[in-house]
Amino acid sequence: MDLTFSEEQDELRKVVRSFLAKHSDEATVRRLAADPQGHDPVVWGRMAGELGLQGLAVPEEYGGSGFGYVDLGIVFEEAGRALLGGPYFATVALAAEALRRCADEQARHDFLPGVASGETVATLALTEDIGRWDEQGIGLTAAHDERGGWRLTGVKTYVPDGHLADLLLVAARTPSGISLLAVETTDAPGLARTPLPTLDQTRKQARIEFTDTPARLLGPEGTAWPALERTLATAAVLLSAEQVGGAAAALDAAVEYAKIREQYGRPIGSFQGIKHKCADMLMEIESARSAAYGGLWALDTGDRTEIAIAAALAQAYCSEAFTKVAADNIQVHGGIGFTWEHPAHLYFKRAKSSEALLGTPSYHRELLATRLGI
């Protein structure tokens, strides 16, 4: 039984935290938030080159470092703490995982090394206007063209970092079911990408229109849904770790402020009204941590059912915990917490956008209930 972190894992956390303190400080977060692209290729390159973060959990045979999901979860937790902008989640939690799970060894060899080296920004294009994460939500179609290839026609939207991805992994409906197809965006014909202005400016989304766009089929046609389902479960767990990190940072801010802000002649943190709120915030965070870590441990050691259950649980719980803690942080700060200038709203908006990123907490509760046979 190994439900605690090793010294190496503590060290990884330290290294990532200090890197992000420098390269994803508040000024950088705000600069990227204000920029429609929201991506800093220089920092992206250093994340890959100096720390190997994009390839951390990519198996060594595909150019990665072959670490486990618990290790990767540490990185996501720290990314959440630092409100890291840019396509890390899209590339690592969604696209790299979809490549690992798809039934196409050649595609792994072709694409994963680029992801691991930081050369390729990638994402998963799954959701459409209807805003669903299940099989039924996929309406975009792929059809055979006359030369034996595949062509995509339709719209994907709310695609994380879809505006800047070099590689799009597209879930599409084909004659015998759901298939996964790859589109390399450079000079791709019939591809129109529009960045969507987002409530949470630290996380960018795009709308992508495909018009007879040539695409490469990954794996046997019509069989991709189980791999996609597993990808979404992995991403749900990694997102949960990110949410825990964000919530922990929001609590840190609330506690620091409660120690120095004085009213009625004493620090507001000495009043039980504030102290008990902060205690409840920590309880939520530690509970969310258990939910997220339980998911990470399941990813490393669990079977398919355990992973599906742990992932749904993690998203159902961590989403709401982050939102509650981020809102309480604003409340502890009072008026100043309601300003644009104060970072409290950045965490709150990230919390709310994270709730919607892979499906709402209600959706994940229902997934959990179904998987438990309730």
């Binding site: 000495s270 205690a279 870590y293 959990l368």
Partner: protein
């Protein structure tokens, strides 16, 4: 839940399993799952079960051999408690002495005290009650008023030594769990009459079989005579019955309270998991799973029990790895107690009108008892409000409330 604690303790685990399979039979097996930290149900059977355990050498798995224990490590203790809970063996009647007084004596007691008191605890020959709370000292334990004075002209004067003489104790204690069964009490007293709050307190061991000690049961809201109030009127105990230093009773008392050793986590966890399973079965039986509002609450109940499990496993992993447990070890009680109450509320709701009917003499079924007793979980061992103060001040470092 099937947990594997590794190859090193597999033989030990099998030994525990075999013993439990051989001995948890007959009347003991009929009382599986009975009792709890505040549940005195089936007391006599459970006491007999404790004696069975004692005869098998299963009390004090982690206590040193010289005092009758097995002298094993924390991991073995956890394995034992896990296997014990897995077969839902009755809750040990002597748990107060095993979990609180014993560890306190091991840590702070004199050699003579350890030799005198530890073996009879493991032999189930002497039962103990805690005398901490008072009518005027609940959450604010430091305001205890029970006084103890030295009487060096007392009956023990003949010894003549520094350790001669007696303590004479007067005051009132309350909420003493299973107090009516206690042969001895460990009592927090004020030995310096001019002292205030945490200073000037001493922890004394006081025998109950004397005229100066009167123990009256208090009926709890579940109708059980589980706890008691204790009236001390010139009660006497010999001078060497102070644990730790005179005047350092606060330190002695606190040294063992709030230290999470991880041994109680899994038994409680398995109880919660059984209740969550029963909740889902009940919901299915009553067709409640099709009601979206109830369905949501049922899923949330399951989620909270699963979160408690991971939280407990995190703490156990840290403890057995020799690490200091993280903040989750401090927040776990607040979480578990409030969520357990919600689970009980929901189960009672799902049981419908039939759940509102009790048996003869206010006899409660398992669900009713657990639901009602769960109300104590946010009060004993530091109320939720105190827990929030502890989390706020000791974990988050927020400033203390200024004293008027």
């Amino acid at each position: 839940m099937e947990l594997d604690f590794g190859p090193d303790v597999r033989d030990f685990r099998d030994e525990v399993r075999d013993w439990l399979a051989d001995h948890l039979v007959g009347e003991f097996a009929e009382h599986r799952g009975m009792g709890g930290p505040t549940d005195g149900a089936a007391w006599e059977v459970r006491l007999a079960w404790d004696r069975e355990l004692s005869a098998g050498g299963w009390l004090g798995v982690g206590w040193p051999r010289e005092y009758g224990g097995r002298g094993l490590g924390l991991l073995e203790e956890i394995v034992f408690e896990y296997e014990y809970a897995r077969v839902n063996a009755p809750y040990r009647a002597t748990v107060n002495a095993l979990d609180l007084l014993g560890p306190m004596l091991l840590k702070m007691g004199s050699e003579a005290q350890k030799k005198r008191f530890l073996p009879p605890i493991l032999g189930v020959e002497e039962l103990w009650g805690q005398g901490f709370s008072e009518p005027g000292a609940g959450s604010d334990l430091a305001s205890v008023r029970t006084r103890a004075e030295r009487d060096d002209g007392g009956t023990s004067r003949s010894s003549g030594a520094e350790s001669g003489g007696e303590w004479v104790v007067s005051g009132q204690k309350v909420w003493t769990s299973f107090g009516v069964h206690a042969d001895w009490l460990y009592v927090l007293t004020r030995t310096d009459p001019r002292s205030v709050r945490h200073k000037g307190l001493s922890l004394l061991l006081v025998p109950t079989d004397q005229p100066g000690v009167e123990i009256r049961p208090i009926r709890n809201l579940a109708g059980q005579d589980e706890f008691a109030e204790v009236f001390l009127s010139d009660a006497r105990t010999s001078a060497d019955m102070v644990v730790g230093e005179v005047g350092q009773g606060w330190r002695t008392a606190m040294a063992t309270l709030g230290i999470e050793r991880g041994t109680t986590l899994l038994p409680q966890q398995l109880t919660f998991e059984r209740e969550a399973e029963a909740l889902i079965d009940l919901a299915r039986e009553r067709g409640a799973l099709d009601d979206p509002m109830l369905r949501r609450r049922i899923v949330d109940a399951w989620i909270s029990v699963r979160i408690m499990r991971t939280t407990n496993l995190r703490t156990i992993a840290e403890l057995t790895a020799g690490r200091t447990p993280g903040a989750q070890a401090t927040t776990a009680k607040l979480y578990a107690s409030t969520r357990h109450q919600q689970l009980g509320q929901l189960a009672t709701e799902l049981a419908g009108p039939a759940g509102q009917i009790v048996g003869e003499d206010y006899a409660l079924d398992r669900r009713q008892r657990s639901f009602l007793l769960s109300l104590a979980e946010t009060i004993y061992g530091g109320s939720s409000e105190i827990q929030r103060n502890i989390i706020g001040e000791q974990v988050l470092g927020l400033p203390k409330e200024p004293r008027p």
